[in-house]
């Protein structure tokens, strides 16, 4: 198999978050427009200057990326629409980076946004995928809560993880969120409150679940030279991977596609897990964060619960994790949830994080996971990013 090539000379720049709202009367187009406007203002760009556009959204229908070009007055020579949920950010980044590297585009605007109307979550669930329609949603209609409950149950049975272990992740992320201005959850969470929360779909309880909301996240991909010319904050891309529908014969999901490509992932970046200063996992349900901590090589399979018991996961701690509070505390703005960790890691490496800034953040690992099509998340992706040198 041919090996992945370096991303030298290509950067991710201008991290943008449009603050989330629990419910919003605005549609996805409005949120995408706000993100584009923020990118344009920061980089002093007009629509005509943006010659690459990558978008991820569940609620932009009936439009796709092509319709959005006319909606926003873009005339790109690189266009991507990535319906990959939680893997959208990393995958959007790596494809845009290759386009820039190959000369297919100069500057790519990567945007993820979703609307949240009062009934839109139910509608999204019932029509999420053909397998969901045929073989999951008619079974109690618990949505992702039920699917992840089954994965969590199996993980607990298999590896002896407890609810307290999941709780540690949620409590630490809430603490991070208290220092992040745009988090929707602004009330301190104790482990007792976590343990005492009402059951949603055993063993998933209230604070294991993300809150659907509206919002947008965005960044630009361009050459390092261009980013410097525009005076933009940027990060270097050390390495990225994506892998979909890995381990399809596992009867129930306890690992993801990262494992397949891990050696090349760290090899290309020339870093080791212990060099990583902060980790952003995709956290819709804490069991998935534990799975990523294992599958990304921070500990052995099945040992993530023990690992988090001995680490401080806050932005001040020895293992800074989901430093803005993650989706568990910031909210899940649909596909923007797949960008949240990436944009936050960029802010951290650029020193733009604010109160939740991790000290001496040089290398960040961002992981994406997405799309419970039937019984498991199919998409997995990860990126290693470094502070601009």
């Amino acid at each position: 198999m041919r090996r992945r090539q370096s991303y030298k000379g290509v950067v991710a720049a201008a991290p943008i978050t449009i603050p989330y709202e629990r419910f919003s009367i605005h549609g996805a187009h409005w949120w995408i427009g706000r993100a584009l406007r923020a990118l344009a203002e920061q980089a002093h760009l007009k629509p005509a200057d943006i010659d690459g556009f990558s978008v991820s959204s569940f609620t932009v229908g009936p439009d796709t990326a092509i319709g959005l070009t006319q909606h926003f007055g873009l005339s790109p020579r690189f266009l991507d629409h990535l319906p990959l949920g939680g893997a959208s950010g990393v995958v959007g980044l790596r494809r845009a980076a290759r386009a820039v590297q190959a000369g297919d585009a100069d500057i790519v605007a990567c945007v993820a946004a979703d609307a949240n109307h009062v009934d839109s979550f139910r509608r999204t669930l019932s029509t999420f995928s053909r397998f969901a329609q045929d073989a999951v949603y008619p079974y109690g209609s618990g949505g992702p809560n039920a699917s992840f409950a089954l994965i969590t149950r199996d993980y607990m049975n298999r590896f002896g993880a407890t609810r307290e272990d999941f709780g540690r992740i949620c409590v630490a992320q809430r603490e991070n969120a208290l220092a992040y201005p745009h988090a929707l959850m602004k009330k301190k969470l104790t482990l007792d409150e976590y343990m005492g929360a009402r059951a949603i779909s055993d063993p998933i309880h209230l604070f294991d679940c993300v809150m659907p909301c509206a919002g947008a996240e965005a960044f630009l991909v361009c050459t390092e030279e261009r980013a410097r010319d525009l005076g933009l904050p940027f990060v270097n891309i050390l390495s990225t991977i994506e892998r979909h529908n890995a381990f399809m014969d596992d009867p129930i999901q306890y690992r993801g596609g990262w494992v397949v490509d891990l050696e090349e992932f760290y090899g290309l970046a020339e870093v080791k897990p212990e060099d990583v200063d902060l980790l952003q996992t995709y956290d819709d349900y804490p069991v998935i964060s534990l799975m990523q901590i294992e599958d990304l090589g921070f500990c052995k399979k099945g040992e993530a619960a023990a690992f988090v018991r001995t680490r401080d996961l806050t932005y001040r701690g020895d293992f800074p994790h989901n430093t803005s509070g993650g989706q568990l505390s910031v909210g899940q703005a649909g596909a923007a949830g797949g960008y949240l960790g990436l944009v936050e890691a960029m802010r951290q490496l650029c020193g733009l994080a604010g109160a939740n800034q991790v000290k001496e953040a040089e290398v960040a690992l961002v992981s994406g996971f997405g799309m419970i099509n039937y019984d498991r998340g199919l998409a997995s992706a990860a990126a290693l990013l470094a502070k601009a040198s």
């Binding site: 029509t127 053909r130 008619p138 079974y139 089954l150 199996d154 055993d202």
Partner: protein, 411 residues
């Protein structure tokens, strides 16, 4: 252990009746193959004919070798329950009012993992028997059952949503003069019906088996003449809101082809008893059944219809009668769709010649009325939609599925 059902109290007539809702019923066309299996009580999944892989959820090509359109085949139903969750909040209105609801992941011995409804007596790590049930939207649903029968197993709240179990329900058998009607009354009473209304036209005329019928527990004789719209309407006005299962046992079997008869008198009688009788019943009792589809433990559940198997393919020795039965079969498909919004099943029990007087000259095999009644109760308990009772009915079904034109020549 399943908590045994408690006999429901008499309903307060002033209370609002909860309206029936359906669980999500949208399915891909390919997935409808599961409903075909569930309707017959079979456990079938797609099996690739090229690489023998068993496939779930239903796909349009084999994920092992890309072979197109793998067919649905009977597969072993054993498996292990890997994980269970009890869902306590749902975005769907039907499930919302039925919370909590157990679902689980089952690894089938034949390969795939199936997300399924889980019976209350199944625990993580247990061996289970997977089945396909028709849920209240009329669509197939995988249901994990205990590998061995457990006490009061049928009373499981989730399972009972998928079945039409006669226990604590009230049935109407439309014609108690026939041997089939009497057998059904007995079988339904034994299956736990709290009342079995049995229709008798012109009750002053005695009939064989009357004494035994009147002595059967929970039987209540009611006046009913299916050839008279007023009679059917009167009975529905009287008991329509208390009938949960309708079993149409009206018969009018007369031999002979169409040219063998002079005039239309017999044909009209056949149509009047069978086809128009079904219509009168459906119009009088159907709306109440559909309205009461979610009315508690003894909600309306099913309409059972017996059909001569030559409804599928005409047998000229009973040519005119076969044609009447074909009309009833077609009507049954309309009624099935019309009852579906209430979650009420329409069950067709196909049979060949019976051990009754109008089939007297025919050689065996023939179906005993008691066997037909047992099949009806079994179909109710399992929530089936199409049942073929006896060797002849099975044989005609197979020949029909193989090729209807060849069957026409064979008959």
């Amino acid at each position: 252990m399943t908590e045994p059902l408690v006999r429901p109290k008499r309903k307060d007539p002033l209370k609002r009746t909860r309206l029936p809702l359906s669980p999500p019923g949208a399915r891909s066309r390919t997935a409808l193959g599961l409903a075909t299996a569930a309707a017959q009580g079979r456990f079938m999944l797609q099996v690739c004919q090229d690489c023998a892989k068993t496939i779930y959820p239903p796909r349009d090509a084999c994920p092992g070798c890309f072979a197109p359109a793998p067919p649905f085949c009977d597969v072993p139903d054993g498996g292990v329950l890997l994980a269970v969750t009890t869902i306590r909040t749902s975005t769907d209105a039907y499930y919302r009012e039925r919370m909590p609801w157990r679902v689980g992941t089952v690894r089938l011995d034949c390969g795939p993992s199936v997300v399924a409804h889980v019976h209350g007596d199944c625990a993580e790590g247990d061996r289970v028997a997977m089945s396909l049930k028709l849920d209240r939207s009329g669509q197939a649903a995988a249901f994990a059952l205990p590998a061995r029968e457990t006490p009061d197993m049928a009373d499981d709240k989730q399972l009972r949503e998928m079945t039409c179990d006669p226990k604590f329900r009230r049935a109407l058998v439309t014609d108690g003069r026939t041997a089939v009607g009497q057998a059904c009354a007995k079988a339904l009473s034994e299956a736990g019906c709290t009342i079995v209304f049995v229709g008798i036209a012109d009750a002053w005329k005695p009939f064989p088996g009357e004494e035994a019928l009147r002595k059967t527990a929970n039987v209540e004789i009611v006046p009913l003449d299916l050839t008279n719209s007023e009679s059917v309407g009167d009975l529905a006005a009287d008991i329509g809101g208390r009938v949960d299962i309708v079993v149409n046992t009206a018969e009018h079997v007369r031999p002979g082809g169409i040219m063998a008869r002079k005039g239309l008198v017999v044909a009209r009688e056949e149509m009047d008893v069978r086809y128009f009788g079904l219509m009168r019943l459906a119009q009088a009792f159907g709306p109440a059944l559909r309205f009461r589809g979610a009315d508690g433990v003894n909600s309306a559940a099913a309409f059972v219809n017996f059909l001569f198997v030559h409804a599928l393919a005409n047998w000229p020795e009973f040519g005119a009668y076969s044609a009447t039965e074909a009309a009833c079969l077609s009507a049954s498909h309309s009624l099935r769709a019309e009852l579906r919004p209430g979650g009420v099943k329409f069950i067709n029990i196909f049979h060949g010649p019976l051990e009754t007087e109008w089939f007297q000259p025919l050689p065996p095999p023939k179906v005993a009325p008691s066997a037909l009644a047992r099949s009806a109760v079994d179909a109710l308990k399992r929530g089936l939609e199409d049942v073929f009772v006896g060797d002849i009915a099975q044989d005609i079904r197979e020949r029909f599925l193989a090729d209807p034109k060849t069957l026409e020549r064979e008959l």
